[in-house]
């Protein structure tokens, strides 16, 4: 599904990705973890072609990412910070994205799911951070693509919405999709992730299941296992 070979990226003098290799062929939920600045978002943005890597190859579903754009029709992406044109209304934005994708969308179902009906006629500038994130989630999930990329999906959500999001992610998983997630909430990751990919200094440091991570670090719980990696590497 996703194949990344020898990926390099620098921003100025700062090396963010340093020869990263990653193969994702399984279905299910893969969590990409790592300390701040370890290159998670850069990796995700490289998959989407928003960041142009200095070196290396990325293929998604057999199609090269570089200089291509059509492969993105099979990706649903949730950006980390919901940047929206502020003078648009919520339903105008949803209609616009639907029009641009030209694909069937289940927006109504998701609007109901996240209880967004009262906000549909409000401008995006006037929404709270959490409501914006819900709009973000609707835009992401409405197209039903086989690959879903979620960058910090939990940010700004209240506990009820967080539960709903968890349900939604499990539903998508049950449909046989591949879901990439980054998150800083370890309990969330531990609960949903089938596989952990841990980034450190622009490379993959660990790639395996949660229980494998626990055994390899000799720590009984997940949060300590992650903390163990970080302290051992002075990250």
């Amino acid at each position: 599904m996703v194949s990344i070979k020898n990926l390099h990226k620098k921003f100025g003098a700062l090396v963010v990705l340093n020869g990263l290799d990653l193969e994702i062929n399984q279905k299910g939920i893969i969590a990409i973890l790592g300390p701040n600045g370890s290159g998670k978002t850069t990796l995700i943005k490289s998959l989407l072609g928003m960041v142009v890597p200095a070196k290396g190859d990325i293929e998604i579903a057999g199609e090269k990412v570089k200089d291509h754009w059509n492969y993105r029709k099979d990706i649903d992406y949730l950006p980390q910070i919901a940047h929206f044109p502020g003078n648009l209304k919520v339903n105008e934005l949803i209609r616009m994205i639907k029009d641009l994708r030209g694909k069937d969308a289940r927006d109504k179902e998701l609007i109901e799911f996240f209880k967004l009906e009262p906000f549909l006629d409000k401008k995006l500038n006037n929404l709270s951070g959490g409501s914006k994130q819900k709009v973000n989630l609707v835009l992401c999930f409405m197209f039903d693509s086989p690959l879903i990329i979620l960058d910090e999906p939990t940010s700004g959500l209240d506990p009820v919405s967080l539960l709903r999001l968890r349900d939604l992610i499990q539903q998508e998983k049950a449909k046989g999709k591949t879901i990439l997630i980054t998150s800083h909430i370890m309990s969330f990751v531990e609960e949903v992730a089938d596989r952990i990919v841990f980034l450190l200094e622009g490379k993959i440091y660990f790639n395996g299941t949660v229980s494998e991570l626990k055994t390899s670090t000799g720590q009984p719980d997940f949060e300590h296992a992650i903390a163990n990696i970080l302290t051992e590497n002075n990250a």
Binding site: K45, M50, V51, W69, R72, P79, H83, F84, L100
Partner: protein
């Protein structure tokens, strides 16, 4: 492309500034016609305003729109759309809506005054063509500057400096050189130097159309000789077109390599 263009248009049509710009030209046209009571004179006065103002507005709108729509751009970049389509669509959205404001804002009062029965119609037409070219040129230059500078203040400052250079400083340097080297034959130099700056070139194209080049003296005669020939006209419009094509080409190049 058309979809991006449509949404850029839609976005701009909600902005108050598009209407202010349109109303400004409408008022300017009406007032000038009222004061001059003559189409040809109004065209001359308008030219002086347009030559300076259109580039300024194109620059400011271009930079402002680019920075303001960064969020929209990021949203679009994750969609299955070519990068080139996104940026060229946005550029055309701004340039076309500015050009429309200009054409409609000036066109309405002039047509109402009886432009179509007047001999000044071609003068007015050449004025509009220059205005449209200048809009496309300076919006493209502004997009270039904004694309290369993440910092809004810096981008804005540079764009204004570029306008100031082409609209004012260039002429100053040009004049200084003419005065300093007045003992040498300068007609070729003057011709080339004014063809290279889109603002000067537009000014001359309109002036020559107006048949007041006699006021320009010897150099004016040389200009008339050059621009009067079909070769001269082709070269001038070629240069104006190049001023559009090269910055647009750079928009495509730079945007293809940029990280978001």
């Amino acid at each position: 492309m058309l979809k991006i263009l449509k949404y850029s248009f839609f976005d701009l049509s909600r902005s108050l500034w598009s209407y202010v710009y349109f109303l400004f030209y409408l008022l300017l046209g009406i007032i000038l016609l009222f004061l001059n009571n003559d189409l040809s004179n109004a065209v001359i006065t308008l030219m002086n305003v347009i030559i300076i103002l259109v580039p300024l507005i194109g620059t400011i709108f271009g930079v402002m729109y680019y920075y303001d729509s960064r969020e929209f751009t990021e949203l679009l970049l994750a969609q299955p759309i070519k990068r080139r389509t996104i940026f060229i669509g946005q550029y055309l959205g701004v340039a076309i809506s500015l050009a429309l404001s200009l054409i409609l804002g000036l066109g309405i009062p002039f047509v109402a005054y009886g432009l179509f029965e007047s001999a000044a119609i071609w003068n007015f037409f050449s004025l509009l063509v220059s205005g449209v070219f200048l809009t496309f040129i300076f919006t493209a230059l502004a997009f270039n500057i904004a694309l290369s500078h993440e910092n809004k203040i810096k981008g804005f400052g540079l764009a204004i400096l570029l306008w100031l250079f082409l609209a004012v400083v260039y002429d100053g340097i040009f004049l200084l050189i003419l005065v300093y080297f007045q003992d040498y034959p300068l007609d070729k130099f003057a011709l080339i130097a004014s063809v290279l700056n889109p603002i000067d070139l537009s000014r001359i194209l309109v002036l020559l159309k107006l048949d007041i080049s006699a006021l320009l003296g010897y150099t004016g005669a040389v200009f008339k000789l050059f621009f009067g020939t079909s070769q001269g006209v082709i070269i001038s419009f070629g240069v104006l077109a190049l001023w559009v094509v090269l910055p647009v080409y750079r928009i495509i190049r730079v945007s293809a390599k940029k990280d978001f």
